[in-house]
Amino acid sequence: MLQSRRRIRYALAGSAVATAVIASAQAQQPAAPAAAPVKLGIVSFLTGPAASPFGIPGRNGAEIVIEAFNSGKAPPPFDKVGLGGAKIEAKFVDEAGSAANVVTEYRNLVQRDQVDAVIGYVSSGSCLAVTPVAEELKALTVLYDCGTPRIFEEKARTYVFRVSPHATMDNVAAARYLLAKKKNLTSYSGLNQNYAWGQDSWRDFVGAMKALAPTVEADKVLFPKLFAGEYGAEVSTLLTSKSQALHTSFYDGDLEAFVYQEQTRGLDKRMTMIMTTGEAAIWRLRDKLPDGTIIGGRGANGPLAADTPINKWFQKIYTDRYNIPPTYPAYQMAQSLLGLKLAYEKAAKPGVKPTADEVAAAFKGIEFEGPAGHVKMALGDGHQGITETAYGIYRFNKQSREPEIVDIVRYPAECVNPPAGVDADKWIEEGMKGAKCN
């Protein structure tokens, strides 16, 4: 009995000691580890001529959206912290340099820094250079700003995605808007930079004009050198032409220099200008941009975006931080991050990072509402997004001293983008069959 009491005492003491030891051990153990951070490589022009209009707004868009993700303050359904609960660590890389340099930096991000995904690239040249490498390395990559349709038309892709629509819709919508607003148009000219972007933009615009108004004639076709800066001869050529409208996909310094030079000589009084990327310049040019200019923004971005809660949220956080409203590259970056977040969280399993294959599978064909409207990954076998787009007329409001875009017309995504499986240039060439504009 005594022994049994002793045993009980020993057993009680032992269990108390054991409990204390376990409790102490538990107290000494670190807290349950937080989910490992998700590393993202963000690539954009941080230096060079394309930094100011595109690269920096894109970078800024990434910075504030990632901050909102990490603090869980993005609106639903994007309100989960980071990506699937794991905080995002972003590494910003400059896109400036040759295509070879861009590819080297890409490889560094994927192989040396072991990023989980890369989001980036403004230049179509960079996108075309990086895409095959991304496929080779099986690295999840979201292209954010470049416009060339070739990425998904040349070959099926597995790991590369682009939420932002390609450039075809910019020029198809420009042609539709111009013809709707200028019923008596007989002749138009083009001023575009002499490289892939300018040439593709003009080809799509002329193709759309031919399909929609075959009797309207393309008059002067000018392709000055990229970043030429001096446009006196081009302005004279246009002043001596019979055109009533001018199509231009100029951007940045080229656009601003052209506007200053043409305005001094009154070209905008002679013809209506259609600027397919003009939205990115309105906050800089302000009252220097002629009233009546037809403005596009590579989608329904900035003042062309619909007044939705998520757009208001994005406009607010961007403007509060940078004291200037977001332009379309910032929107494109935000939309790309939102798309990646949805895909990542769709693929995620508790406690385990999804693989690039799993995220890619989840990304295919997703749809979501972003600041620039409804995104549908409809082209390129679910890898290329389409959205609606919009055009409007620029006006500098002299009372409020702020730029405005009025008379906005929205074009559904299926009206200005080719159907799935059809190449953009063929679609335009064959009269844009299947376009659903109503």
């Binding site: 230096t47 100011s52 392709f223 000055p224 800066g229 000589r265 800089r284």
Partner: protein, 298 residues
Amino acid sequence: MLTSFAILTDGLVYAAYLFIVAIGLTLIFGVMKILNVAHGSFYAFGAYGAATAVGIYANADWPAALGFLFMLVLAMTIGLVMGIILERGLLRQVYGKDEVITVLVTYATFLILEDVIVLLWGPQSYAAYQPMVSAGNIEIGGLVLSNYDILLVAIAAALALLAYWSLKFTRYGWLLTTVIFDRETAAAFGVNVTLIYTVTFIIGAMLGALGGAVMAPKIAVTLGIGVEVIVLAFAVVAIGGMGSIEGALIGALIVGICRAAAVHLVPQLELFVIYGVMALVLVVRPYGLFVRAQPRKI
């Protein structure tokens, strides 16, 4: 008729721009035998300086003429300071070394100065359109011309006359000519070649900055503007002959008129024409239009 007149006026304006940019480059090469890639940086700093000056005078509500003068003075002061720092601090260390080393030094300087621009002015672009807009326009022969462009042609003509007068009728010009002709002999006769080098480099730097300043109102002052300019300036200088000021003038006129004609008549050739003309001239005269082959000294 209107097209011919437009080609002539556009060609003159473009030639003025090219000459203002190229004169400093060719002067430095003529005297110092330095192919100065950093000349593009002088242009860029001049343009940024001018944009800063325009920002100051626009806010201060000064008269346009005073503001324009302030713009030029500030830009050329920047050129002066840069010229002194680069020549005294850097180029002096490589005098007498192989020409390739000097080119590499100026190229490295150019790359460093591109980053200095980002540090000083940030990556955003700047506008300095006020002088051009306030100058207005004039209609001649049915073509509306910018008064600022006419002023640009006048500035280029004045520079050409000033360069001619300085070289032919001033003591410094005579000394410069002797150094251009034969540096060793000039030094043997007591010419202070080192001082001539310093003064020439500073004048070249100020001319580069002046080019940036007068172009700033026409362009968006943004990163990378120096790269475009240096390529064009090299083409003009190669056509006229390295180191020849009259060559730079004629080279600028040829390129300006040919480019304007291409834009008006065959726009597809606009890119090709500048370098096509350069290639054609170099095939016929490998040292450019105004420079003869020189016997090599042993």
